[in-house]
């Protein structure tokens, strides 16, 4: 559906996007993650034909963006970051204007606007000037704008920023719903959002792609070790260390804190196999009192931090 090859963008001498390659299949929901200034928005702006790439190529549905910008723009719906809309226009007038530019038949315009207003929950602000709307409502009007022509590809730049938690859940539901048949690209820096809505995640850092895959593959990719935490009473570090080190697969036992009553220990193990039953058996055989025992899970946050902080 979308094929991006060696895409590069320079702002003066600053390289914002550096030779990135990726493909997006039809019906995929792709999450574009990255710290601030990583090049997410620039990438999306080039995909939508707003910025011209310094080099590289973009193909959408077999159409090259150099030659068929207008055709590509017809396939796309785009919600820019922070939804910059005309302040003076009324929401209804604005959507009518968008419908006209999107070449929607005149007898279809009103039903389409009404349908989008229901979907995005903007019925009660239709007759207000856009400038008077709260950020959340503006964002929803922007979403309605992006979906006006029922585009095959929907590009959303931080679609849930400025929304309250209820609205975020709603918008995610809408995105999931549309994503069943459409291709969606979302940029975000809310990781749980990417995890909840996206089929695939691409992490960008300093203009380069540092990871690409489903959340599961990313997690496997980033975790090399299993880490367990133990909190014990009535135990001293020496004996704990000698007892636990005997286990196959335990690489190291480190002390986090030790007070008179409590001992916190971190166990680093090889990732193959689950050691938790063995660890528990050892504890059972002693007179230690187990207060806490958990395995550290590799969250998307950890992966993200690891990948974007290294360079």
């Amino acid at each position: 559906m979308i094929h991006v090859e060696n895409l590069t963008k320079y702002y003066a001498h600053l390289c914002a996007v550096d030779q990135i390659n990726f493909d997006i299949q039809k019906g995929e929901i792709l999450g574009l993650l990255g710290p601030n200034g990583a090049g997410k928005t620039t990438t999306l702006r080039m995909l939508t034909g707003y910025l011209q790439p310094s080099s590289g190529s973009i193909n959408i549905k077999g159409l090259s963006i150099d030659k068929h910008v207008l055709k590509i723009k017809k396939l796309l719906g785009y919600l820019p970051e922070s939804a910059p809309l005309y302040h003076d226009m009324l929401v209804f007038d604005y959507l009518k204007y968008v419908a006209a530019i999107r070449e929607i038949d005149s007898d279809q315009k009103l039903p389409r606007i009404r349908q989008l207003a229901d979907l995005c929950g903007i019925n009660e602000v239709m007759s207000k000037p856009i400038g008077e709307l709260s950020k959340g409502y503006k964002q929803r009007v922007g979403l309605a704008h992006a979906m006006m022509s029922d585009p095959e590809v929907l590009v959303l730049d931080e679609p849930t920023s400025g929304l309250d938690p209820n609205q975020i859940v709603e918008i995610r539901k809408i995105i999931k719903e549309i994503g069943k048949e459409k291709t969606i690209i979302i940029s975000t820096h809310i990781l749980s959002e990417a995890e909840a809505t996206c089929d695939r995640i691409v992490i960008i850092n300093q203009g380069k792609i540092v990871a690409d895959g489903s959340t599961e593959t990313l997690k496997q990719f980033a975790s090399g070790k299993n880490i367990m935490h133990l909190c014990l009473q009535n135990a001293d570090f020496k004996t704990v260390e000698t007892n636990l080190s005997k286990l196959d697969g335990v690489e190291s036992v480190t002390r986090i804190t030790e007070t008179d009553s409590e001992l916190d220990v971190r166990l680093t193990c090889q990732s193959a196999g689950d050691l938790r039953p063995d660890v528990y058996r050892i504890i059972k055989d002693t007179d230690w009192i187990l207060l806490d025992f958990h395995q550290e899970t590799q969250t998307l946050e950890n992966i993200f931090r690891k990948l974007t902080k290294e360079s």
Partner: protein, 234 residues
């Protein structure tokens, strides 16, 4: 072409949604009305000569004020990102906005038809130059709009856009009155560049293809400049 019409309709109504159109039209009528009738009875002639003499200077002030927001405002609030990712070309955007500005100038000129009507009650008015003057005014307004649109495409700051537009329009208006500064060899070129001469020719009732061609060229250069300025931005 249909996109041009949609953008035109949106921009034209935007003038009347915000107070811009009403303020600009009021000031224009106030200034031209005052200067025209202040001297009208002194000259005791039934023509619109003073009105037309004044018009290029007033236009040089008023038109950049009309056009300054057209592109600058989009750049400033970032709505260009929304506009240009819809299926429109730079050309559609520029042409639509240009036509909206020309239409507003026409709307601004309509109330001034009261002047020739008033004059025709008081004496024998020759309608030829009056009609010529209005045709010329539309051409002049279009040329200045194109210049103002170019200025607006240069910057995201509306005030800077206004000042640049004003400077260029003012120069075009006055350049043929500054000719004594220039060497003899350049006189011909520079007197041709003056907008005032061409406008006054038409306002005399002489419709000469050279004058029409001049205004069309200014429009073209201005709009093309705006196109280049936009192209450079992305």
């Amino acid at each position: 072409m249909r996109q041009v019409a949609h953008i035109f309709r949106k921009e034209f109504s935007a003038y009347f949604i915000s107070p811009i159109a009403y303020i600009v039209i009021s000031i224009f009528l106030l200034v031209t009305g005052w200067f025209f009738f202040a001297t009208f009875f002194l000259f005791n002639q039934a023509n619109l000569r003073t009105f037309y003499t004044l018009l290029p200077v007033v236009f040089a002030f008023v038109i950049p004020a009309i056009t300054m927001r057209l592109i600058s405002e989009e750049l400033n609030i970032g709505s260009d990102e929304i506009l240009l990712t819809m299926p429109v070309t730079y050309g559609d955007v520029i042409l639509g906005k240009f036509l909206a500005s020309v239409a507003l100038i026409m709307a601004m000129l309509i109330p001034t038809l009261a002047y020739p009507l008033t004059v025709s009650f008081m004496g024998q008015l020759d309608w030829g130059p009056v009609v010529g003057g209005y045709v010329g005014a539309v051409f002049l307004g279009a040329a200045f709009s194109a210049v103002g649109l170019f200025a607006s495409a240069l910057t995201r700051n509306q005030i800077i856009a206004f000042i640049i537009g004003l400077a260029i329009c003012f120069t075009l208006t006055l350049i043929d009155k500054m000719l004594f500064f220039l060497p003899q060899s350049l006189l011909g070129v520079f007197s041709y560049l003056g907008a005032d001469v061409h406008f006054q020719n038409i306002a005399k009732g002489i419709i000469d293809s050279r004058d029409i061609l001049y205004f069309i060229s200014v429009c073209f250069v201005g709009l093309f400049g705006a196109h280049i300025a936009l192209n450079q931005k992305y």
